[in-house]
Amino acid sequence: MSNKKTSINIILAATTLVTGIASAEDIELDLFHRWPNEPIRSFIADRVAEFERQNPGITVNIDQVLNDSYKDKLRVILGSSNAPDVFFSWSGEFGNNLVRNGTVRSLEGFLEEDQQWLEDNILLSQVDPFEYEGEVYGLPWQMNGKALFYNLDAFNDVGLDLPDTYQDILASCDTFRENGYIPVVFSSKEHWAISHWVGTFNERLVSPSVIETDYQRESGRFTDPGYVRALEELEHMVTQCANDFPNATDHSTERSMFIAGRAAMNFLEYGEIRYLEEDADFAWDSTNFPPFEDGKGNQNTMQGAPEGYMIAEKSEHPEAAYKLVKFLTSGETARQSTAVTGFISPAVGAVTPETASENQVAAAEQIAEADGMHLWLDNALDIRIVNTYMNGVQLMLDGQMTPSEVMADVQEAAAEVREVASR
């Protein structure tokens, strides 16, 4: 790593001499993101190296931590004296919380001058979720969404049609089991993984206006019977259709089981398509989670929201940091990203048959067709509510709590959060 950097620096120094351009004062930026795993880690490292080449005098140190740990770490280091200059963030409540605490720099000043660049490069609809009280705080570099993936070979094998509704899924489970398939592979060891299910079920079963009120820190009550129903359905679905021991299974194992062809259905992120493309040797397809026949909610929303980069308020080099954010979210980076990382990019013209696989193009269409994206539930709600909620679901799946008991705890946590929010 350091060798690479040294040699790059030597090249930089040489270029400077030859071209006679005096390099600006040396600037060091810290970039913090959430992909310690390949190929994304290398992709970002390569793009950053390219950025350093194009911007002599700026060096970028990169660090990365996975998922749940990333959230813990980020919250803590943003308040510390060594906050990173540029960091990954989800849009919505996760980002809003950081903004509220004054740790994120508004991008308004930069974007005013760059309006043209923004329109040329990024789908504006994907910038909106990064707005807080009228100002933009982040730029998206990945659209994501959760979809139900079908193992088409399994459906052919047992002679079933793809389900049109949630009830169809339930009805198909016995058939799959009899033929040795796990109908729906499911894991609940990690909070975030459960939250995607609960979030989707809530959206389908609770009316949108109620959800909107409840998901706000200041007004969340969670008293609608639809929430209990959502958990009852989840419990039912897991008993009826899922593998044994979900609480002891993590998401990567869950996905491995699907890829190994042992399951008929799996709820995955579009960002995970590349795993399927690499390793699954069966035909597959994806769709937005099917509607509930009698649901009071919106039957065509999707969990998932743009994810992108923000600049820390404490950054000493906001201009350079903004350059890096621009570089990472630009159309140029995006066109390469789709092929390498499998992310569905929000950049203009990034997901086309030339740059992306058929599946990715289809995913982008499915995202566009959904009636709006809902933030991942674990990022939409206050962390206290999330913990109570997801711990409760784990215990519910373990037979220790009932759905209404879980929601009673959630209501209590929501009351505490309302109190804190009103201070």
Binding site: P36, N37, N61, D63, V65, K73, N82
Partner: protein, 303 residues
């Protein structure tokens, strides 16, 4: 706290009482104890298997592909994937290793030197409050590091130690000082005073006496204390995950967590990383068995 032993006796030289077994005559008591011995032997072997099998399994499976670990984790590898070790080493384990080495070595050297210095000072000091001072210095024994994690975290921010080697070295030294001072002081007390006097007459100043007489004479206890400190720092987990953010600075216990996350389900490489991380301490133990064991015992109060 008064339990202190620093010898482990060799089995050969210790005369043992004889049992009923080898007196050559048949007896009921003898028969019973034979059955007892068989049962006991069985138990010891069982325990040995419980200890050794997971390690054996880890080594064997570290040489397999992930697919094979899934399908046949009991059997020997069909193809021996030595590449797992290369991949693990290059995938970060080498840097965790280096970091652990740097942090442990620095912590040990600083702890030992500062403690010895302090023990020497305590020995020489004859003024008021000598006892109170001693109590103050070893009182830290009663504070477990977990208790102070939140303020320490802030302290690391203020001192700007956070996310540097110092964020680990300094707390490690601080929490190992009390026991080390206690051990070294006890040893210094056994060094005859005449030596000081003689050295003094030879024109040594007190710093020279410390360096040229006390330190060399106390090699045994210094090694013991060093081994104990190294053992603690090599395995410390809580500070390691809180005070270090950068992947490039992580020590083995916290680094392996990141390593697992980065690998996702590449199990063969993960297991190879575990084996690499575990090996040095085990090898060192084989060589330093005696002083290590002695160290464990002297430090039994706060292992």
């Amino acid at each position: 706290m008064n339990f202190q032993l620093d010898t482990i006796k060799s089995d050969k030289n210790v005369p043992r009482p004889d049992s009923h077994v080898d007196d050559g005559r048949f007896s009921l008591n003898g028969l019973l104890s034979r059955a007892g011995y068989t049962a006991t032997s069985f138990f010891l072997v069982l325990y040995a298997i419980v200890v050794i099998y997971p390690l054996f399994w880890t080594i064997i499976n570290s040489l397999k592909s992930t697919q094979e670990i899934y399908t046949s984790s009991w059997s020997l590898p069909t193809t021996w994937e030595f590449g797992n070790y290369v991949e693990a080493w290059n995938g970060g384990v080498s840097s965790y290793f280096l970091n652990s080495f740097i942090v442990s070595t620095s912590s040990v050297l600083i702890t030992i030197y500062v403690s010895a210095l302090c023990a020497y000072g305590l020995l020489k000091y004859r003024g008021k409050g000598a006892n109170a001072l001693l109590l103050f210095l070893i009182g830290g024994l009663l504070v477990s590091p977990e208790v102070s994690v939140v303020p320490l975290y802030e302290l690391m921010q203020v001192t700007r130690f956070h996310d540097t080697y110092l964020a680990l070295i300094v707390p490690y030294v601080a929490y190992r000082l009390p026991i080390t001072i206690l051990l070294i002081r006890a040893y210094f007390l056994t060094i005859p005073k005449d030596l000081d006097e003689a050295a003094y007459i030879d024109g040594y100043n007190s710093m020279q006496i410390f360096h040229k007489i006390y330190l060399p004479l106390s090699k045994t206890i210094l090694i013991t204390a060093g081994v104990l400190t190294a053992y603690y720092t090599w395995n410390e987990f809580l500070f390691a995950i809180i005070f270090i953010d950068s992947d490039s600075l992580k020590t083995i216990p916290s680094g392996l967590m990141a390593f697992r996350d980065a690998l996702q389900t590449n199990w063969g490489v993960l297991l190879a990383g575990l084996v690499i991380s575990a090996t040095p301490l085990i090898v060192a133990f084989m060589f330093l068995q005696r002083s290590f064991i002695r160290g464990m015992v002297s430090g039994s109060v706060k292992g």
